[in-house]
Amino acid sequence: MKRHPFLLIAATVVATLASVHSMGCGASRSARSLAAEKVYVAPGELDKYYAFLSGGQSGSVFVVGVPSGRLIREIPVFEPRAAYGYAMNDNDPRRQELVATGGVWGDTHHPILSETNGMPDGKYLWINDLANGRLARIRLDYFEADRILKLPNMQGAHGIAVVSPNTKYIVVNGEFELPTDGLVTNPAPYTSVVSFVDPDSMQVKFQVRVNGNIDIADTSKDGRYSFSTVYNLEQGKDMGSMIQYDRDAVAAIDIPAAEKAIAVGRGEVRNGVPILDPESNPGVLTLIPVPKNPHGINVTPDGRYAIAAGKLSPTVTIIDAHTLKIIAEPEVGLGPLHTTFDDRGNAYTSLFLDSQVVKWNIDKAVKGAPDYIVDRINVHYNIGHLQAVGGDHMHPAGDYLIALNKLSKDMYVPVGPDLPENQEIIDISGEKMKLLASFPTPPEPHDATFMAVSVLKPLVHQTYTPADDAVQAGKERVVRTAPHAVTVDMTLIRSAYTPDKLEVREGDQVTLKITNVETIRDMIHGFALPDHNLNIALAPGYTKTITFDAGKPGVYWFYCTNFCSALHLEMRGRMLVQPKDSTVTLTDWHAAANVQGQVVAGVPSTGAR
């Protein structure tokens, strides 16, 4: 039987199209289901790791489950957040700190964890605010910011690192250089400082002056050195003059030597902080020359090498972390920015321009073996930081890596011109890297760090222990404390405000102390008083004190913003504001109980100690 050639061609085309279709665009069906299995966390099951991602210009920290990639929580830090009742009132200490130190917004870049013996201990997480030169500390028992520090003598706080292995200091790099005396008339070249912050008191213990812009930080695993990449050794003040030199530097600060110099008074005190000038204190600062305008600096988990990424050079510079000598400078690809590590002697470097992660073997690169590149994988797109689980600590897990990409382009359904950020989860357990999944976030994670759920989960509280000055059920009151001041002690529990009626007078300053007296987890209540621009939320056991002006005469409803119970919608109350000249006698709620009432002006308080 003779076949028609046209039919044969048509059949071949159809068969080819069908097979291409069944393969999908990227991965085959079996590869897809294998990847899905690696990141699937069934409802009710828990992730293996907490990933902490900086929120960038959101001013916060995102908590993501790994391997699922589920966004579990946002921890507001430098920006008020009504939904969490964070920094929403002038009386809130975090808001006071924010206002006093720069503003109610921030640009967070690098989350770092407190360490014991080189491993995260679940006590604190620090996060920088590049924009306003600040450092915040987050308590991991409550997942809430508890201190915000403005770093003196510097503008822009960029790279931060914990001094391993036991969190002796937090290293904070000042990125934007300034006149040494702070005077605008000083014609001398600008300089910057590296700050060493005490983790417990959150005080800057000392600073070391460095010429140029100080970028990313890490520390040696034995507590001897801090390493910072430095660009613009030229001390130029515009872009053209910042990229003249062929080489910039990694600044290695000998911490014990700096401590000794400070102890004998070698620091010049400015704004209460002693600053060491390396020129008059030899031995404190070593500048290690690396290709110009480097970016990331990462110390290997075994503490042997510090690896500086070339950024404008396609190389990484491998520095001996003990002798500070350059060991090798292998090529890895275009735009190397940051490096992380597995538990098998491999490094993973992000390539911003290639939009790739390159996996390379450290020993082979050090020995100059030609086959040090192990694998490359495409990421989408323009990767910045990357972090493998535990790669920033002494015992990496070697299982997952997160790529934090700057652009998402076509990765998600179109949502207008402002696109989400794209993170990708990569399986690094085998020889070849495998892209498992991606997840979007609001703007804009820069860096990430991880903690094992098995370590952190037992340390996390889910309700607050009521503070000593918390309002107790049955002790609620409304008291006039001055001719134009009213103090209210209020409790919240399903499904009522007590008291649910406040009577005040036009011109009154109202101080409202609220305690959520629930004892069961996840029973959060809100207090919104819309016409007074007030909206806060309180987790069980939490107490907050807010102050506001009573405003114009009228009836003002306040209501619960956090869905709590079958009577959630009915959970509301009124503030009645009488005219200034009203002859109506205001009813004091619990009047009899108020006769003895001695009200001390409270500050917002929690059970967190």
């Binding site: 529990i493 399903r494 007296v517 629930e518 004892t519 069961i520 987890r521 119970s565 079958a566 009577l567």
Partner: protein
């Protein structure tokens, strides 16, 4: 001799029972994973997740019993029973002793039966004497059993004797067994 030891043990158990919760309740619901609510009835009153349970009860109009006068009576009765049993351990093996111990065992059993009746009555009241203006409308009256589960709204409520009640039960068992062990007038143990 053995009888006296049994009665001494029974007396000790009855006295010790006062230090433990008498009755227990466990309440489980889907939205309380790993956090089943517990209430215990002790001689001092109801303890445990009292705030949470009373918060929930208000939705279905159950009146949380804040005062339980019968606990005062029960405490007095338990102390008295411990005393009676102790005397039963000390008293001689003659006819007077035999009769006394029979009465003792009977008193203890009667107390337990009466207490069970009181608890069941309370449970009935909890399920029936409800606020007619309760927010939730769909709830029917209910009677949790003395021992076992009952479905109350979205909760499964388990009611069970706690350590104290179990100790009283064991003491009653010892007392009854002791009566059967008592030598009769011929000096042989009863059949």
């Amino acid at each position: 001799m053995k009888v006296r030891l049994l009665y001494a043990a029974a007396a000790a158990l009855v006295a010790a029972a006062l230090a433990f919760p008498l009755w227990g309740f466990a309440m489980a619901a889907p939205q309380y994973p790993d956090e089943t609510l517990h209430l215990q009835v002790t001689r001092a009153g109801i303890v445990g997740d009292v705030q949470e349970v009373s918060t929930l009860q208000h939705f279905i109009g159950v009146r949380f019993p804040t005062e339980l006068p019968e606990l005062t009576w029960a405490t007095a009765a338990i102390v008295a029973l411990a005393g009676l049993l102790l005397l039963g351990a000390l008293i001689g093996g003659g006819a007077v002793g035999r009769v006394y111990r029979v009465l003792c065992a009977a008193a203890l059993v009667t107390f337990l039966v009466a207490s069970a009746a009181v608890v069941q009555t309370r449970l009935y009241q909890v399920g029936h004497d409800r606020d007619p203006n309760a927010p939730l409308r769909s709830m029917r009256n209910f009677t949790p059993p003395l021992i076992g589960p009952a479905k109350v709204g979205n909760f499964t409520v388990w009611s069970f004797p706690h350590a104290g009640a179990l100790m009283l039960l064991v003491a009653a068992g010892l007392a009854v067994y002791g009566v059967r062990l008592q030598p009769d007038s011929s000096g042989k143990a009863a059949a």
